[in-house]
């Protein structure tokens, strides 16, 4: 019994079908509890008022947005090294989820920023690197959809993911340098970890766990869809050959 057994698409499908309902419930309950707790049962912040509660969507979404790319990187590595098709399809399945999470983080961030900073957007290092991450997601998804042959697409996108990861990290630190060079010490970004009090952090952790399970559910579900789509493609090709 090793983890590589799940590289067999059939084994993956049967197992994921068994665990998916449980994960759905878990994700739903955790999200609901976390969000309701966060929205209605936490005090208003003494400085930010009720708008601090955007945090309960913003932080988990950003957390997933980064980790989705990390998961794609691991899945791409597995595809490059061991050539398990499920892994390549899981990376493909994770990308749209990741891009939506990035978008949610950017939009909620803009709403929050409009309330607290008085501006929708500022070229702060953190914001800028998230925007760059968004662009990386777009390129990755566009490359997947541009290539017809599934194996070629998997190869090219996985290498793009590896190279892109290096450049994404590089951009993260380049942006840090660039902004400090521009505005001396004008750091608008609140360091969230230090500011958050216990009353906020507990529902926040629940929300993050909920978003994590939601991501897991969506990726498993979408990977299953991709496997079935691949199977349909193979069946259709076989039929055409027989005819």
């Amino acid at each position: 019994m090793s983890i590589w057994e799940y590289a067999n698409p059939k084994k993956f499908l049967t197992t994921s079908e068994r665990v998916l309902p449980v994960l759905w419930v878990l994700a739903g309950v955790l999200c609901a509890v976390g969000l309701i707790w966060g929205f209605f049962f936490t005090p208003d912040d003494y400085r930010q008022g009720a708008s601090v509660k955007i945090m309960f969507v913003h932080v988990p979404a950003a957390f997933i947005a980064i980790n989705a790319w990390f998961m794609m990187l691991v899945a791409s590595l597995i595809w490059v090294i061991r050539r398990h098709h499920v892994s390549a399809l899981a990376a493909k399945a994770a990308a749209p989820v990741g891009v939506v999470m990035t978008l949610i983080a950017l939009i909620t961030g803009a709403l929050w920023g409009h309330q607290i900073w008085g501006t929708w957007w500022v070229w702060d290092p953190r914001l800028t690197s998230f925007l760059v991450l968004f662009l990386f997601y777009l390129g990755y998804i566009a490359l997947w959809s541009a290539i017809e042959d599934p194996d070629t697409a998997a190869d090219l996108t996985s290498i793009l993911c590896l190279v892109g990861s290096v450049f994404a990290v590089l951009s993260r630190y380049a942006v840090l340098f660039w902004n400090q060079g521009l505005h001396q010490g004008a750091s608008l970004s609140l360091d969230k970890e230090e500011n958050v009090a216990d009353a906020f952090s507990n529902p926040l952790y629940v929300c993050m766990a909920g978003f994590g399970f939601l991501f897991l559910v969506l990726v498993l579900y979408r990977t299953g869809t991709e496997i079935r789509a691949r199977r349909i493609r193979a069946l259709m090709m076989r039929e055409r050959m027989d005819a």
């Binding site: 990386f136 390129g139 490359l143 190869d155 290498i159 793009l160 590089l170 951009s171």
Partner: protein
């Protein structure tokens, strides 16, 4: 390797090679900038380093889809892949040829265009130095993008979408070095970072480009 380099240079320089298109594009972009932001010379002087860097980057991007596509269409690339020269060397030579025919003229033209944008006198040398150090990275990264999209019909737009995010660090450090030079500040840190990016991409990225090209030639 030398023969391949000479062949690429000749093909680019002779008729139909599209040599000079990038230069003309660079010129036009630079000329359009005052039309879009207004002719005040202080404003132009302030944005000149960034605009020139962005213009050079876009002109470089414009010529990327020709980098491998022509050799791909007539089967030359298949021959190169089966030749004793490793594919990693082939893509490095291709990047070098691209740098000599496209990026180097841009670097040389940049000071002239700097005059049009009222670039401060102190900025000229650092603009040229930063472009000289940064454009190799642009060519190498661009070769990777060209290798990714070589098998695609109408891959040009996709190529831009893939390559431009990869250009972000190079642009940041390059434009920062040029800007600091124009403001008379110390340019050492961004220049070193820029040189580091160029050296690292030159050393590592050809392997990725060759791997991608092998997949496409399969």
């Amino acid at each position: 390797m030398k023969a391949l380099l000479l062949r690429d240079l000749k093909l680019a320089l002779r008729a139909g090679g599209g040599f000079g298109l990038g230069l003309a594009f660079f010129l036009i972009v630079t000329v359009l900038v005052p039309f879009s932001v207004g002719p005040q010379s202080e404003l132009l002087a302030r944005i000149a380093p960034g605009v020139l860097w962005l213009g050079a980057l876009l002109a470089c991007l414009l010529s990327l889809d020709r980098l491998l596509a022509l050799d791909w269409e007539d089967g030359t690339l298949d021959l190169m892949a089966t030749s004793p020269l490793p594919l990693e060397a082939v893509v490095t030579i291709k990047a070098l040829a691209h740098w000599i025919t496209t990026s180097l003229p841009l670097v040389l033209a940049a000071p002239v265009l700097g005059i049009l944008l009222n670039l401060p006198t102190a900025g000229f040398q650092w603009l040229v130095v930063s472009l000289l150090l940064g454009t190799p990275a642009l060519s190498v990264i661009g070769t990777f993008g060209a290798a990714l999209t070589v098998g695609l019909k109408r891959g040009g737009l996709l190529l831009s979408l893939l390559v431009l995010p990869l250009y972000v660090p190079t642009l940041i450090f390059g434009a920062e070095a040029a800007r600091r030079g124009a403001d008379g500040m110390s340019v050492e840190t961004p220049l070193l970072m820029l040189a580091g990016i160029s050296a690292a991409t030159l050393a590592l990225l050809p392997f990725a480009s060759a791997a991608v090209l092998r997949v496409n030639l399969r």
